[in-house]
Amino acid sequence: MSALAGDPDASPVRVLVADDDADIRDLVEFKLTQAGYAVEAVADGIGAWEAFAANPPQLAVLDVMMPGLSGIDVLRKIRESEFASVPVLLLSAKSRDSDVDTGFEVGADDYVIKPFSPRELLHRVNGMLARAR
């Protein structure tokens, strides 16, 4: 299920994945890599921001609950940076209205709640990138 249509010489779409939970990080990385994306995976908010600033991806998947800078903190920084339009998907445990509200208010493009379906996550990532193009 590759998201790359058209030009076979195009370099793979870069996606940044940030989650302090190694299992989630690895499985999302795996899923997206299998789908043809180039994934950079980091384990915390600071790392996510630094990775983003150093090499801005085409899309970011951020876990909300991370120690130090949370996904929402990182999102806030992204929206205030020069690459503010990068689509961002937030991952969070259980739907709590306030988290979701805050996420969208700060500028998330989509929100996936744990427990989540990896397949659905991929669909959403594909959709977000298609819309961004």
Binding site: G68, L69, S70, R76, R96, S98, D99, E105
Partner: protein, 482 residues
């Protein structure tokens, strides 16, 4: 009088004192450290329980029963860090909370910075006067977007107590927490410290969360991104003190049901109960201690079923003094507050109506917190003097040293083990060795100095001198470990 005569007279005096006091003093030292050890054991049991809770943890999201929280932030000349602090408070993970900043007549740019950062507009709101506040309210402001849950209240300068009481009046949520402008909260801190309220909504009236020194840790945008040890020895020793006294003592006490002290940097209270007991008492220095005592007294007098609990997870971080001068002021202030509150509530001692607070917690605080510096310094003066004069032999002096100080190190190390077990916040071996060294160093000079300062505070109170608030020079936080 000849020199020999003087010495011989002194000698007899010391002999007399020693005869009278030597055994009691020794007994006192053994008791005080044993009681601390008892608390350590209790805290150990409590931490086993914590471990169990962690091993079986379920992700708790607060659902609908998470009560709303108003974070009260009194601010006086805090231009350096106030905006960062408020931003970090606003972005804590919690379903429903607001931030109430009370500008206590700052003479610097505190308000201007807030106004600019949050686009504040004046609101013609009249604040309730549930707790009487003398100072005049100069204005109430909200962000122009109408949605950011921030309220800024400006008032004439009249001190932190009135600022907090005004904050309680202005608060919109059922729970209030009293913060400092330099507090840093864990992003999930509110979830932890409100949990007891959500689990027992009809009885819980107050909860306390642990605080830790932030010195040395890396802070970005008001969040701790890496926990590290302070760079110099004075704050390191205080870290050790915090581990021992705040964490263990309070967790231990909480287990015994005798919790009376909620630390100054973080306590969460039911707003209606705070109003009911009349808010914070102006003119006292141990505000939070005094408030908790008043709540205990009032609710027990009324025979109400209530709970106060301590949440051992680190909820809040604060900057501790790095210079002796600021530390001295802090300790004087704390001890003065302790004395004044204990004295004010002396009627609760040993009365059956007040349960464990009356017969266990309060006597403990009187004997082992209030009187401790007195007896400690007495020991330091008398024993060397006695040794010098040949009144006691070396063995006694050594025994005294070992019991008084070795025991203290022992207790502190126990605290470290328990902490290591429960939290392992400091992830390096270097941190552990520094903590061990600090726990030894504490007994060489630091402990004696703080004992002296505490006595100074006590004495100042007895002499009725007005307290002068020391100013913590704030450098603001980001990227700048002390």
């Amino acid at each position: 009088m000849s020199w020999e005569g003087f010495v011989s007279g002194l000698r007899s005096a010391v002999v007399w004192v020693m005869d009278a006091a030597s055994v009691p003093v020794l007994v006192y030292f053994v008791l005080i450290n044993t009681s601390l050890l008892v608390l350590v054991v209790l805290a150990y049991l409590e931490f086993r329980a914590q471990e169990r809770r962690r091993a079986t943890a379920l992700s708790w999201q607060g659902a609908g029963l998470a009560p709303g929280v108003s974070l009260l932030v009194p601010a006086y000349n805090e231009e350096a860090g106030i905006v960062t602090a408020v931003k970090s408070f606003l972005t804590l993970r919690y379903p429903r909370h607001e931030v109430v900043v009370i500008d206590d007549g700052s003479t610097d740019q505190t308000f201007a910075r807030l106004e600019e950062a949050f686009d504040l507009v004046p609101l013609p709101r009249e604040l309730p006067q549930e707790i009487p506040v003398r100072a005049r309210v100069l204005g109430v402001f909200v962000p122009r977007d109408g949605r950011t849950r921030l309220l800024v209240v400006r008032k004439e300068n009249s001190g932190k107590t009135e600022a907090l009481n005004l904050g309680v009046n202005a608060a919109n949520e059922p729970l209030v927490a009293m913060l400092d402008g330099d507090s840093i909260l864990e992003p999930d801190g509110l979830l932890h410290v409100t949990r007891p309220f959500a689990d027992d909504p009809t009885r819980m009236v107050a909860t306390g969360g642990a605080i830790r020194p932030v010195n040395g840790s890396r802070v970005v945008s008001g969040r701790i991104v890496r926990v590290d040890m302070p760079q110099t020895w004075l704050p390191r020793i205080q870290l050790v003190e915090y581990l021992r006294a705040f964490l263990l003592g309070r967790t231990g006490w909480s287990r015994l049901g005798g919790l009376i002290l909620i630390s100054g940097a973080f306590g969460l209270f039911r707003r209606d109960v705070v109003v009911e007991v009349g808010g914070l008492e102006p003119g006292t220095i141990g505000e939070d201690f005094e408030l908790v005592m008043r709540i205990h007294k009032r609710l027990r007098d009324e025979g109400r079923d209530y709970r106060i609990e301590f949440v051992p997870e680190p909820v809040s971080w604060t900057e501790v003094p790095v210079t002796a001068k600021v530390l001295r002021n802090q300790r004087r202030r704390w001890h003065r507050g302790l004395w004044e509150t204990l004295w004010a509530y002396r009627s609760m001692l040993f009365r059956p109506r007040y349960g464990r607070i009356g017969w266990l917690a309060l006597p403990y605080y009187w004997l082992f917190e209030l009187a401790a510096p007195l007896l400690e310094l007495f020991g330091i003066v008398i024993v060397p003097l006695a040794l010098l004069l040949g009144v006691v032999n070396v063995s006694f002096a050594v025994l005294f040293l070992v019991l008084a100080y070795g025991y203290a190190v022992l207790v502190t190390l126990s605290a470290m083990v328990v902490d290591e077990w429960a939290f392992h916040k400091h992830d390096r071996w270097r941190a552990i060795s520094q903590t061990i060294v600090a726990s030894v160093l504490e007994n060489i000079g630091y402990r004696q100095a703080t004992a002296w300062w505490r006595l100074e505070g006590w004495w100042a109170s007895l002499r009725g001198r007005r307290h002068v608030w020391g100013v913590m020079t704030r450098t603001g936080f980001d990227e700048d470990p002390a």
